[in-house]
Amino acid sequence: MGDQPEDVAGEIKGLQRCINDLISLFALPAMWSGGEPSQIVHTLLDALLRMLQLDLVYARLQDSPGQAPMEMVRLAQSPRRTAQAHEIGKVLKHVLEADPQESPALMPNPVGDGDLSIMPMELGLQGDVGVIIAGSVRADFPRQTEKLILRVAANQASIGLQGARLLSEQRRVASELDRRVAQRTAELAAANDELRKEIADRKHAEEDLRSSEEKHRTSERSLRELTETIPQMLWSAEEDGTVNYCNQRTLDYTGLSAEEVRDAGWLTAVHSGDMAMATRAWSGSVTSGEAFQCEFRFRRAPDGYRWCISNAVPLRDPEGKVIRWFGTIVDLHDWREAQRALHAIQTRQVAVRADVSLAFGQKESLEAILQECMESIVRHLDAAFARVWTLSHDARMLELRASAGLYTHLHGAHSRIPVGQFKIGKIALEQKHVLTNDIINDPRISDKTWAETEGMSSFAGYPLLVGTRTLGVLAMFSRKPLTAGTAEALASTADLIAHGIERKNMEEALRTNQERLSRAMQTATVGEFAAAIAHEINQPLAAVVTNGQACLRWLAAEPPGIARAQDAAERIVRDGKETAEVVRRIRALFKQTAVERIELDVNEVIGDVLELLSGQAARRRVAVETDLVPDLAPVVGDRVQLQQLVFNLLLNAIEAMDAVADRPRQLSICSRQPSQETILVEIRDTGTGLEDPEGIFDAFFTTKESGMGMGLAICRSIINAHRGRLWAASGEGAGTTFSFTLPVRA
């Protein structure tokens, strides 16, 4: 939990960078306008390489059918950076041919070492424009934000390339016109020559002239046919800017007649707010003779103004003088709207994601987290109210955990919904989302009267899924229609919440486990301590009692054995004092019940415990050897806990040697200070050794018949609390060494 704020800060930073990158991407089309496809792709590849720190980015453009595709590649610094685009293309062949849905893939890095994570993105619908393949040696590539950037980049490029394609189409049409006009002009000139040459023969000349005019008309007609057939709005203008022709498509679009659009009549279809700008741009081009481009709101006859872009290029005579202008108009409205909506949704998605991530990072209780998430949905996704249910332990009920917006109570009719019943229960059971913008007529919605009264028009419900498991249901009602973007944002929020809940549940389980462990630790340790203490006290106490009884008997004897009674009484005093000492030692051991952080000498801790265990060791015929380096730097910790740690490890070592009969039972304890910062303690036994030196630290792992197997798990939890390390190593049949380190007081 301690690292959480940094993660959140990192995530916010990442999201900010992502937004910046997105803004840069949105600015690209402006740079591209009028550019060649290759130029567009070059700038895009450079931008992606830089933004995503890619190792490789490759593009293949299907420029026109039948022609070889155009290939381009950009590489980060790499040993083989001279690689040619088509060579890279060959390596990527299988990626290009694979189903892009199956990406990202992993492949050997063609320009360096290791593996490359690959993310192909199609350009245009079904990749009809081409494909971009981004590759990075990072294993986590592509992250969520990187995917987003790549998708947006691909969209931008598709639009840009389609624009470029349109432009080149326009140019092609213009040059075709150019060619035909030139041809016609040549023909006219030839006809004129003919006329001058054969002036004498009037009749013949007239015939010739007639035939030439006939040809002219045919040529004019076929040009007209072409311009009327092209599925584009086309227009042409005189060299002075007077519009002299609009094709039928343009007339249909604006609802104006051919007469009405002539001259400057077309301007009446331009939105009044854009008229001045459009006029200025047009007259600018007419004056300079440079290509015209302008975006303006253009009136579509049935439904009003829509954003369009008009491009025009001049036709020049051999001297370079502009003879005529040929122009196109493209309706950009849907694209621009989509862009705006996309941007808005992305902003809202980012906002909701940030809220959800923050909530999971900062709040403790799941209720508070989910409440925060629901409020974010109400705030950013136009929900009238949003609710979330989680699945009960028996997976039969959905329990309402948070509700924000119009309703905030958690008790009532919807607080518990059986899985499979009502729309919420069905979403959980079928693991399918429900979206409707027509509540009143949707058979899945039951509370129609309520919806009508409250003016609700749309409902969205998503199952909270982790893999194939349902964790709950997220649902919202809205008074506004749901857009695809809202749905997408909700889907991704549901995903985020589901995984958040999953993580939270796991944390909860871990905490419960730790609590159980610490409770068991207390019981187990108290039990082991109690046995040791009972023995330590009973020994001198038995002596005291027996001496007392002997003393009484000597005194009661005839004659009384005064000297012997005195001996016994002296032993009583001596052993009584010893008992008191044992009690004092034990009390000192238990004195600090609350966890304390004080400076401690590890050697002293070992000494205290050894004193308590020496009897035990002797009885089990274990020889104890100590090698404690004097003047160790102090550590900071809890005396009782560290005593428990050493006690458990020593007792464990002693017990591990119970079965040893063929060699000495030797227990060695040594302390060292291997560095300025660390104290190392090693406890070595000559027992049978371990099969699984790591598994032994698990709770309930035991090789002993008695005991709960808690001892070493407790040791590990104590050492973790002291920021130390505990491990075990075992040679074959040569006993076990338990080692732990503790940090020296800073």
Binding site: Q539, A542, A550, R564, A568
Partner: protein
Amino acid sequence: MDSDCPVVFVVDDDHRVREALSGLICSVGLRAEVFGSAAEFLEFKRPDAPACLILDLQLPGGSGLELQQQLLAGDTPPIVFITGHGDIPSSVRAIKAGAIEFLSKPFDDQELLRAIHIAIDQDRIARQRRSELAELRKRYTLLTPREREVLPFVVAGFANKETAADLGTSEITIGVHRGQIMRKMDAGSLAELVRMADRLGIPPSARPD
């Protein structure tokens, strides 16, 4: 203290307990011999007197129960166990293996002394029986091989004539052997001889059919 004075052996690794027990035992007029380990006790040349062993259950160099197993083979005095923290399984095992008593520290002197006396009385009887048996064995060694052959027939109640027929000799010879057996074994009557043979583990000869 004469050699027939009962002796109490104490084996406990805690010197305080050893000293206290030694004091208590002496106060009731018994002789105490204390040891810090089982090995010390096993090495000790024990006096020929009725005795009792007070044994700590948790001993260095092998637990008291192990020592008990070891001692069961030889001539051991009865054992009274003492323990710092006795558990039920060990006490059951100890008693089953023939311990007189199993006492937890700190123990009551009355209980301990009662157990010691019971143990000593038991040992006295056992010693008595052991010495009688030793005497019988000594007498038995005086018999010649032929007399040892005849003995089972005598204790089985065979007439001299039957025995002679079985062993392929004369009735008179058997009569002589029989007289020698009665004399050497110091048996006052045939019934006494039968009891002696029983204690020596000599089965009466089966009657041939």
